[in-house]
């Protein structure tokens, strides 16, 4: 049987970046994508942070179809009937190429076309069903009746990674470790987006919401401006959805979110053009799969490389960097003609020297910190309530602000021992 060098399963950002970094190595590389084209099964919130991946990507993203450069960051705490928002912008963010909103269907497709120009085969409409094994080593893939033998199989098939699972590298998928993102694309004229978000053309806004948006469940809402559309959605923990009493149908969360006063005017007159959903790994460092085996590497979401930092959610830059580092590992392995577990273990060593594992490790305690219902219900409710009291000038005489503050904090029970202890654990994140 004839072996090619590398089969990459999945044409998302991880798989495509891996292929891109292999393109000039002279190796035979095939990317297999189950959708009609790379990007057609992919969804992001979202935005891509460029600086962490700058030293890895070379010219890979030159000319990429970015939507807007994020220059305005907003976070909102949503109470039941009120909200409190921080609105941040900075000259640095406006000047530097810090982060960009993207739409995956066009972004990934563009990258795959760039790859094909470099002679990499990207085969769409191709679902991989199984792995081929020989003496405990992965030696290729099976799709229907077809078999493709390769020195290395790269599992880049996303959060549900059936390939990493079949390779025995992926931990069982516990509902606690995953969230579901549900999103609408709402089209609006570019000038209206600029006006509503106080930004110029090509500048964008990223807005995260916490609190009433998920009815107290783990998760939040997001809004990202694209050139001529808005990505509006919610993320909710699957375990949280399962445990909530009374239960809520997941899809209704987005509808209620859109009805909020804070959102309604922002999307008014917009035309919904797509409704999507995608799984998100939420376990962080402790949820990573084994990253390599004999003849196989796991990259991107498939490996669990995603990080919910509360203030933002990251995944795509981890996917890109892990894909490129996997490629460097494969190039080394080819030089030594050794594709064993041992040889491919360089991948994990290298990742440990980069932000991919370093950042996940630094924030290893964040999931435990966020595993607290107060963050999604009590705090987002208490702070807007407090501001409401302070800003309200009624018929009665105005009390001292310090008194209002103290009374509110006391009555909200925010200052009890358990909660203060939780606050104190911020030092661990």
């Amino acid at each position: 049987m004839e072996k090619i060098d590398v089969v990459i399963v999945g044409g998302g950002l991880a798989g495509l970046s891996c292929a891109y970094a292999l393109a000039s190595s002279g190796m035979q590389v095939i990317v297999l994508e189950r959708g009609d084209f790379p990007g057609s099964k992919n969804v992001t919130g979202g935005r891509l942070y460029l600086l962490p991946i700058k030293k890895f990507i070379g010219d890979m993203l030159d000319g990429a179809p970015f939507e807007r450069k994020v220059v305005r960051e907003r976070w909102s705490l949503l109470g039941n009937t009120n909200s409190l928002t921080i609105d941040f912008t900075s000259q640095t963010f406006r000047k530097e190429n810090h982060s960009y909103t993207i739409l995956r269907s066009s972004f990934d497709r563009w990258l795959s076309e760039k790859l094909m120009e470099k002679g990499i085969f990207v085969i769409p409409k191709y679902r991989v069903d199984d792995l081929l094994w020989e003496n405990g080593t992965v030696v290729g893939i099976k799709a229907g009746n077809e078999e493709i033998y390769a020195h290395v199989v790269v599992a880049a098939d996303g959060a549900l990674s059936f390939i990493a699972e079949k390779a025995g590298l992926k931990p069982a998928m516990a509902s606690h470790n995953y969230a579901v993102g549900i999103k609408e694309i709402i089209e609006l004229p570019e000038s209206i987006i600029n006006d509503r978000f106080n930004i110029e053309s090509d500048q964008g806004c990223a807005h995260l919401f916490i609190g009433d948006v998920t009815k107290g469940m783990f998760g939040g809402g997001f809004l990202y401006t694209n050139k001529k559309s808005i990505s509006l959605g919610i993320v909710v923990g699957i375990q949280a959805l399962m445990e909530r009493a009374p239960s809520i149908e997941a899809y209704t969360l987005l509808d209620s979110f859109k009805e909020r006063y804070e959102i309604k005017r922002l999307i008014e007159g917009g035309v919904i053009s797509e409704y999507s959903a995608h799984l998100i790994p939420e376990a962080g460092f402790s949820g990573l799969s084994k990253l390599f085996g004999n003849g196989i590497l796991v990259i991107g979401d498939a490996a669990g490389f995603a990080l919910n930092m509360g203030i933002t959610v990251r995944g795509m830059e981890f996917a890109i960097a892990s894909g490129i580092i996997a490629a460097e590992t494969i190039i080394k392995a080819k030089e030594m003609n050794d594709f064993s577990h041992n040889s491919l273990s360089i991948y994990e060593q290298k990742l440990k020297e980069t932000f991919v594992i370093k950042d996940l490790y630094t924030y290893k305690n964040i999931r435990a910190f966020l595993d607290n219902n107060d963050i999604f219900s009590l705090y987002p409710k208490t702070l807007p309530d407090l501001v409401e009291k302070i800003m309200w000038f009624g018929e009665e005489e105005k009390k001292r602000i310090s008194k209002t503050l103290w009374n509110s904090l006391k009555s909200s029970n925010i200052l009890n021992f358990k909660r203060l202890k939780h606050f104190y654990s911020i030092k661990d994140i």
Binding site: R34, G35, D36, G39, S40, K41, N42, V43, T44, L103, R104, S105, S106, D108, P124, K125, Y126, R127, A143, A159, L160, F162, M173, S175, Y178, V180, G181, I182, E184, I185, S229, S231, I238, L241, M242, S247, I248, E249, A250, Y251, I272, S273, E274, Y275, S276, A277, H278, L279
Partner: protein, 92 residues
């Protein structure tokens, strides 16, 4: 907008054969809560009381896999649709 109308906005290429297999015996015997009914973002699951069967409208599947993750009893056997089928996101 109703959930069915939202799904109708998407580009789907539908297979005749479902990529989601439900083991009805497990649903009937083991599952009390039926998480699939409310975790699915497409609202595609329903329980047919007449036939005593869990039904999934697989043609509108957004392929997120949430039902698979939420089905603690392992009644949902879920694979990706075959190549050339399923949802094709135009924005993503």
């Amino acid at each position: 907008m109703k959930i069915e109308e939202k799904l109708a906005l998407n580009a789907f290429k539908n297979d005749k054969e479902s990529h989601i297999r439900i083991h009805q015996d497990i649903c009937r015997k083991k599952c009390k809560i039926r998480y699939c009914l409310y975790v699915c973002p497409g609202h595609l699951y329903s329980f047919n009381e007449d036939t005593n069967e869990m039904v999934v409208e697989f043609a509108g599947c957004l392929e997120c896999g949430t039902c698979k993750v939420a089905c603690k009893e392992g009644a949902i056997e879920w694979v990706y649709p075959k190549g050339d089928y399923g949802v094709q996101y135009r924005y993503g």
